[in-house]
């Protein structure tokens, strides 16, 4: 059976987001600059002016001012099962500096559930649509709205959702937001529409974290779930790997090499306050939070080798979970917090195992293929996503944990770091495309995949944050 791929560009008229005001949003933490000077004199820290330019370009300036495209790959035939929806330009949105309608369209498209129909036209939330015309365009639903500047400088963003088939008003909302929150307002509208029409909670106003690398500069960035509106949480000349969101979305744990070896840090996203919570002898890595946020699982080599330990969120009360002379790493908690999935090569090559968090005999979970790593669990605990290596190809793979059914969900060959959206409907991962590291999202069946960010810088290790921003 040959597959036909249709590549669809959703052109977004876009202006860079306004910079957040002081005290708002995330704060940049600098890894101690003294370490840079001692450790790597051959790569001096950027002068502060260059650093500012670089940070500025990372946040706002790289993307062409005029038009950006979201690249989506869709397997043909799936369009027939999607919900066709129109989203018209929000009245006065160009004056706000954000394409509200464009963000909503891109969000709904990326979910895989919706197909955007011809949305030309000038409407707002008060105009009653000409339903026959919209039915003629093939729409089942329609969103229209406005984004009007208020006297105090904030924006009044309103939308209305219509059932085109029945000719019914499905409700709407008005949100008053500061300019810096316009993108968030658009995402909240996309969430409300998604929820109203599918019954599932939307993830468009959640956040993701990921690592970027530009030459010898690494950042840990926190962005909207569409990869945009990025703010830098950590700036470093040394590698950063393995970011992990706390369950309440307030902290991120990560591994930083700023002191010359792998150390696990936990950082408060809003304030930038951070603490090295695992800095034992040897390497400290692979942090994973328990669902109640009180415990972390980590990989430590303090007793030799790489073994999995638990510790409380402050880094105390360290106790060992795995007891092998193999490599045991990449722990991840089950939603009930009672078990860990992890990677072990105790059988000769890396496979995924499951063990009680209190310790005990691990049970092997992956059997297909000789190299399976980077487990991620769906929020309901029923599906495992991971990376399978076959020959030289690394592909995101899913396993239904009740039936054991295994499925490859990507068609690229250099995938890493799968992470589930908190509604369990999408997986984000990193892959290599045309010489660049890029972020992708995919539906669980692999049929709708979207690439985020055409910015051209290397991005890796995405991790999807929880609900509740």
């Amino acid at each position: 059976m040959t597959r036909q791929l249709t590549i669809i560009d959703a052109a977004l008229a876009y202006n860079p987001p306004a910079r957040p005001r002081p005290g708002h949003g995330t704060v940049i933490a600098e890894a101690n600059p003294q370490h840079f000077m001692v450790r790597s004199p051959e790569t001096p820290a950027l002068s502060s002016r260059r650093r500012l330019l670089l940070a500025g370009s990372l946040v706002a300036g790289i993307w062409p001012a005029a038009v950006r495209a979201q690249f989506r790959v869709e397997i043909s035939g799936v369009g027939g099962t999607q919900l066709p929806i129109g989203i018209t330009r929000f009245r006065d949105e160009d004056k706000s500096g954000q394409s509200i309608a464009g963000i909503v369209r891109a969000d709904l498209e990326r979910s895989g559930v919706f197909r955007i129909v011809d949305s030309a036209g000038e409407f707002d939330e008060t105009s009653r649509p000409a339903f026959p015309e919209w039915r003629g365009r093939g729409a089942d639903a329609l969103v229209s709205g406005s984004a009007v500047r208020l006297a105090d400088g904030r924006f009044d963003v309103r939308y209305k959702l219509w059932d085109v088939v029945k000719g019914q008003d499905l409700g709407g909302q008005a949100l008053a937001v500061v300019g810096a929150d316009l993108r968030l307002a658009a995402h909240r509208i996309a969430d409300a529409v998604y929820e109203k029409l599918t019954g599932d909670k939307g993830v468009f106003s959640t956040r993701i974290a990921y690592v970027t690398r530009v030459a010898n500069r690494y950042t840990l960035r926190i962005t909207d779930a569409d990869g945009e509106g990025g703010q830098v949480a950590l700036n470093s000349t040394q590698p950063i790997i393995s970011p992990a969101w706390s369950p309440d979305g307030k902290s991120v744990a990560y591994v930083s090499f700023e002191s010359g070896k792998a150390v696990v840090w936990a950082q408060d996203v809003a304030t930038g306050e951070r603490k090295a919570i695992a800095n034992f002898r040897g390497s400290n890595s692979a942090p994973a939070w328990s669902p109640d946020g009180r415990t972390l699982a980590v990989t430590l080599s303090r007793e030799g080798g790489s073994q999995i330990y638990l510790m409380d969120a402050g880094g105390n009360n360290v106790r060992r979970v795995t007891q092998s002379s193999a490599i045991d790493t990449e722990p991840v908690f089950t939603p009930d917090g009672k078990q860990l999935y992890f990677v072990s090569d105790r059988g000769g090559s890396p496979q995924i195992y499951r063990v009680a968090a209190s310790g005990g005999n691990p049970e092997r979970v992956t059997f297909a293929g000789s190299y399976n790593i980077s487990p991620a669990l769906s929020p309901d605990g029923r599906m495992l996503a991971y990376v399978n290596r076959n020959g030289n190809e690394f592909k995101i793979t899913t396993m239904d944990l009740s039936g054991g059914n295994v499925r490859t969900v990507s068609d690229t060959v250099d995938d890493e770091s799968p992470s589930f959206a908190p509604n369990g409907k999408l997986i984000i991962y990193a892959t290599r495309s045309q010489g660049r590291d890029v972020l992708m999202t995919t539906t669980l069946d692999g049929r709708i995949r979207t690439r985020l960010l055409s910015s051209g810088i290397d991005v890796r290790e995405p991790i999807w944050g929880p609900f509740g921003r």
Binding site: R281, G304, I373
Partner: protein, 181 residues
């Protein structure tokens, strides 16, 4: 006569091995050319081996022990085969030299950084790099270094020595680096 010849050959072989040179010594060739860096271990008369200078009976003097071992003159990188953390024979002399330097100076410390090539997952490769560093550390401890003098750490695939995407680059990245602390 035979005894002298045998001693000469053994000494030459010993000299070649201890200087980190992997080639075998043939009786009818000049003494093998050793590493081009000045070797403080050799006596004043021998110097670096110059082809032909010592004829067929060249003997390289090796001084062992003593704090005059300048660690910066010893090799600093051990390379590994794909998917392996086994120490290849050709690096054993290098490891021995460092171990002896540590053994001779108990306040001296070393960090061993393990690395992998770019293929494979980041955390798994971090653990593989850790294995490589620990293999070197264990070997040194068998040769006289103490546990407190060495820390084995890993960079996994995060700090390649070579940015290429072929076997020649990968081979340069599968390594353990020895750094003074």
């Amino acid at each position: 006569m035979m005894t002298t010849l045998r001693i000469t050959v053994s000494a030459a072989v010993l000299g070649a091995v201890l200087a980190g040179c992997g080639s075998s010594v043939k009786l009818d060739e000049a003494a093998p050319v050793v590493d081009a860096r000045p070797n403080p271990n050799t006596g004043a008369g021998a110097g670096g081996a110059r082809p032909g200078a010592a004829g067929q009976s060249g003997v390289t003097t090796v001084d062992v022990g003593g704090a005059n071992l300048a660690a910066s003159n010893l090799g600093r990188v051990v390379y590994f085969d794909f998917d392996s953390y086994v120490l290849r024979d050709e690096y054993k002399p290098l490891i021995e030299s460092h171990a002896r330097a540590l053994s001779a100076a108990k306040t001296k410390k070393l960090v061993i950084e393990g690395h992998t090539d770019e293929r494979g997952g980041r955390e798994y490769n971090l653990a593989l790099g850790q294995r490589r560093a620990e293999a070197v550390a264990k070997s040194m401890m068998l040769l006289g270094a103490t546990d407190g003098q060495i820390e084995a750490v890993s960079y996994g695939k995060e700090r390649p020595a070579s940015d290429g995407h072929d076997e020649s680059a990968w081979a340069k990245n599968r390594r353990a680096e020895l750094k003074d602390r």
